[in-house]
Assembly symmetry: C2
Homo-oligomer: 499 residues x 2
Amino acid sequence: MAIFCKRKGFAYASGEIYGGLAGLFDYGHLGVLLKRNFEDLWRDFFLGLDDNFAEIESSEIMPEKVFVASGHLKNFNDFASKCKKGHIERADHLLEKNLKKRFEGLTSEQLFEKIKENKILCSVCGSQIESVEITNMMFPLQLGFGNNAKAFLRPETAQSPYVNFKIQSEVMRKKLPLGLALIGKAYRNELSPRNFLLRQRAFTQAELQIFFNPAKISEHEKFEEVKDYFLNVVLSGERDKGIQKIKCINLLNKIPKFYIYYMAKVQQFYFKVLGFPENKFRFYQLNEHEKAFYNKYHFDMEADLDAVGWTEIGGVHYRTDHDLKGHQEISGENLSFFDEESKEKFIPHVLELSFGVDRNFYSILNFAYFYDEKRQNIVLRLHPNLAPVKVAVFPIVKREELEKISEEIFYDLKKDFNAVYDRSGSIGRRYARNDEIGTLFCITIDEDSLKKKEVTVRIRDNAEQVRIKIKDLRESLGKAINDGEDMSKLGKIVNTRKK
Amino acid sequence: MAIFCKRKGFAYASGEIYGGLAGLFDYGHLGVLLKRNFEDLWRDFFLGLDDNFAEIESSEIMPEKVFVASGHLKNFNDFASKCKKGHIERADHLLEKNLKKRFEGLTSEQLFEKIKENKILCSVCGSQIESVEITNMMFPLQLGFGNNAKAFLRPETAQSPYVNFKIQSEVMRKKLPLGLALIGKAYRNELSPRNFLLRQRAFTQAELQIFFNPAKISEHEKFEEVKDYFLNVVLSGERDKGIQKIKCINLLNKIPKFYIYYMAKVQQFYFKVLGFPENKFRFYQLNEHEKAFYNKYHFDMEADLDAVGWTEIGGVHYRTDHDLKGHQEISGENLSFFDEESKEKFIPHVLELSFGVDRNFYSILNFAYFYDEKRQNIVLRLHPNLAPVKVAVFPIVKREELEKISEEIFYDLKKDFNAVYDRSGSIGRRYARNDEIGTLFCITIDEDSLKKKEVTVRIRDNAEQVRIKIKDLRESLGKAINDGEDMSKLGKIVNTRKK
């Protein structure tokens, strides 16, 4: 995947000419288009769920006190094992690698004990492990010079909406539920970044923090819409049953209505908007020992990826009033909310929908990537919503007349779609090049186009070709791209030429 | 401006409940909408100039060597004067404040000499200045633990496209000019951040780096389009003449054609796309002493702002091969380019179009902000392209029938425009609230709407009201918002009621 992404310029190590930096990546031209498509679809879908949901943008640098309040300063740690020769590794990863089971929730002392007990050695040089140290994963910064403020790069975007809640709830005229969405960067000084875009030191999160009245957690006015919708879940008490497909309404005895409604919306986003395969996505519930201590309910969103299996790509977290309470205590600002309707005063609770944008980006490519034996090349079968390039326009040969009309068509289509113009190489080579980046339709302008005012539209997924009148082209493409109509039925099918 | 921005939730100090951090700001709901409108317009306009221009997204954390190559590690400094009691200030600002002239290009020793010579004292406590120290303005970071990589938050986005040039020019099939655009964050540890969004420690830049063949600097295939276009310029040798309006073609004896073409496009962006007043924008040429040493030509883009006068909001910089040469030397990678057409090999030169997004955001609000004496409230006269909310929909009173049809209209309009629905307060209050945030049109649904299937559309800028058929509403609004048609002429004008 990393090799493919680099070759086509989707994403690659940052500062490549300097050998790169571990855990930092750049997005090239096509990567930016795909990532932005994901972000725009995310925004449209989740901000569209409620008129009282809005987006903010917030500084990535935040004062130390924020992380005293949130608990990150004290608790956001990795455990670094250090060998005699000074090699550093994550102690839990070292144990997991050697003992093939998970180690979560242990202290540094306990981890060190386990390492000694099992006589585990440094995986780099084989020498003895001498210590396990706690290392905070945040990046500290000194603002100004001399006695100036201490600050950190935020390790999660979530704290920004919490700190903004007071002012935004006033500006947005005091109604709950209130949703604050944020798409932005977060930074973690991982001891061992790895797996390409899956564990980075700088990454983009798309998060929606929904502030609500905890007395109303068993209500949602639109629950009817999803009550018969089946969710793919692995429940914490029933893991032996594997993935279960359960109707929303049948989960009400286990999970509150407000929470289930948003799980349903998340899954619909993956299946309907992004086109994930239905057996490749699930909600995985964490149990008491695994979930973050401030979460009352905690479901990971997971995707089944070729290289690494089921992987967390986001989460639905009921964070209760943990964060607002912490900020109220440390900042001294009153963060309680007076509900005009019920005349109650309370600290709102928070339901968090959290998405790792880079992990979603990776998953999207994972599911789209397909080696077509017949064509003998890669076809990136991206959902039409996501494809960075929708249409490619080719004059069949370099001839002034053909190029002129091709350019006219190209500039006309560009008004509606992201389009490219390509006049070099054989048609087969141009098809292959566009299949690799997921271009939905390739349009060839040939001799007949001049006479009959028609072009050939070649369909990415089945390599079928249809003839369409130039005057109908833009409209037909619109139907196929935006409304999901079948292009084969929008023109007359011609014999498929040699690919 | 800062007060207005906070009150309406456009932008405010980051981490406000903690008293904020100097030089860091957050964008609220409306701020995000306005900022994104700017960014989207910028992208459409500048990436639309050439099919070989593309956008990338790059890590804000970059390895130390990048800044050895660029010169930032050595040269990107502030000069900090320190008084007996430890107060720190920018030495050049201290001198400027006291002596009312500019001090650029001096060393720390020279600055200290000047301070002593003129017996200038600390502006906080009045005590003697004891030293002037060099302080680098970049934020350092330690990646990993132990002997790991040293890195910095980038102080300008420009270095990212330079470091990405090699890989992108290969992926994009080796054609010049090649443009790499990037909208992203940059970070500077300013000694004295000030003036709200104008001098921050974290800010967004929108930059287009155009890589071209230096032998072709006197050519641009589309120059004809702009040759008779007048530019607002202050030339470095002719400052006594003030702003001159000069045709592009008449600047050819002073500035290369390739450069002038892009100056014209920049100015057209400000006037045609953003609607800046034509006497409030100029290009200010820096002279030999003022410009960065690597720039051969250097024009600041300046806006005339109410609070601070002419202010830099961007720049057009001819950076030559300074950066690519530096990166080639330090990275050891060959960054020269082989031009298939001319069979020449060379290091491309760079023309940089650089925009401070936050400063542009501030300028946009500055020019839109207007206190209307007649209405006795603020009207934010934003260009239709920029207005965060295009349409507001009001049922005239709370009555089920009216609300039902109002909601139908609202959801229909939302498909095309960012719209809000507002049912509380008097109509006058609702008009005022929307005038303040620049909403273009307010639509009132009244008793007659039920009978005659008509609504009242009230126009922000002149407070005129027209009646429009509900079935024509979406189309009329489209014409007014997207095509600049006059709404007064799209319906029948009714008597303006009491505002």
